[in-house]
Subunit: 141 residues, 2 copies
């Protein structure tokens, strides 16, 4: 994990109660619709970079590196507002979702499985074939 | 941590990817307003009990026991819908919040600190003095 040496002096970053792995859970909510689109994690660098860029940058726990959301798919998340909870250990982003697709399955939201009866049912449509999402040229702007 | 022996046979519970501590992160969103009210954790028993009761039951990591939200404050969360994300490791509850207060500080939402300038500012009003929230008799219904 990288160390946020350049941001270590920032009081606002220190106010966040990072967990034992130096991470904080992050909820991404579409500002206009109120839809909860995804859930991910940030480390100090990711949160500092998010503020700097005005776009969501997460920490990928599987790839162990910063993940500028949309860097491959173009499905950037423009950050309109950042909130911290009462315990200072959860972050809420209010965002604009490029392409209206946050999920790697090609759906609007990652939360497309609804509990019905006694099982989880996929209830939201696939807006774009996921095979075509990650074959596009990287967003360069 | 308790073991969900009574619910171990339920395929829908097994579909959830519980973390190394047997927990899953849970986002509680007010169904009517779309407001994200809080973030907590559940174990298998908590999720099974939530489905059974139709009210949010979390796992308190600090108290290491099931926490029927509102059991002391009366600020019960009626669960209208339960969703699971694409990786099956995050749960989203759509709820009705009793008393319109989810936060132990007496605010509507736990996410009342907004990043402005270079710091977190409390921007949402306290709706009820927290001192009075936990002195009421326990909800008995």
């Amino acid at each position: 994990m990288t160390t946020a040496t350049s941001t270590a002096g920032n009081a606002w970053l220190k106010k966040v109660r990072w967990d034992e792995n130096g991470l904080v859970p992050v909820i991404a909510q579409e500002a206009a619709s109120g839809d909860v689109l995804m859930f991910a994690w940030m480390n100090r660098d990711a949160l500092a970079r998010t503020v700097e860029l005005g776009e969501a940058v997460y920490w990928s726990r599987s790839r162990k590196k910063l993940w500028h959301k949309g860097e491959e798919s173009g499905h950037i998340q423009k950050v309109l507002e950042i909130r911290l909870d009462c315990d200072e250990d959860v972050v809420l982003l209010k965002i604009e979702q490029a392409g209206s697709i946050a999920c790697h399955t090609g759906r609007h939201s990652c939360f497309f499985q609804k509990f019905e009866g006694d099982d989880w049912k996929s209830v939201d449509p696939v807006l774009q074939d996921p095979k075509t999402i990650y074959t596009k040229p990287k967003k360069t702007t």
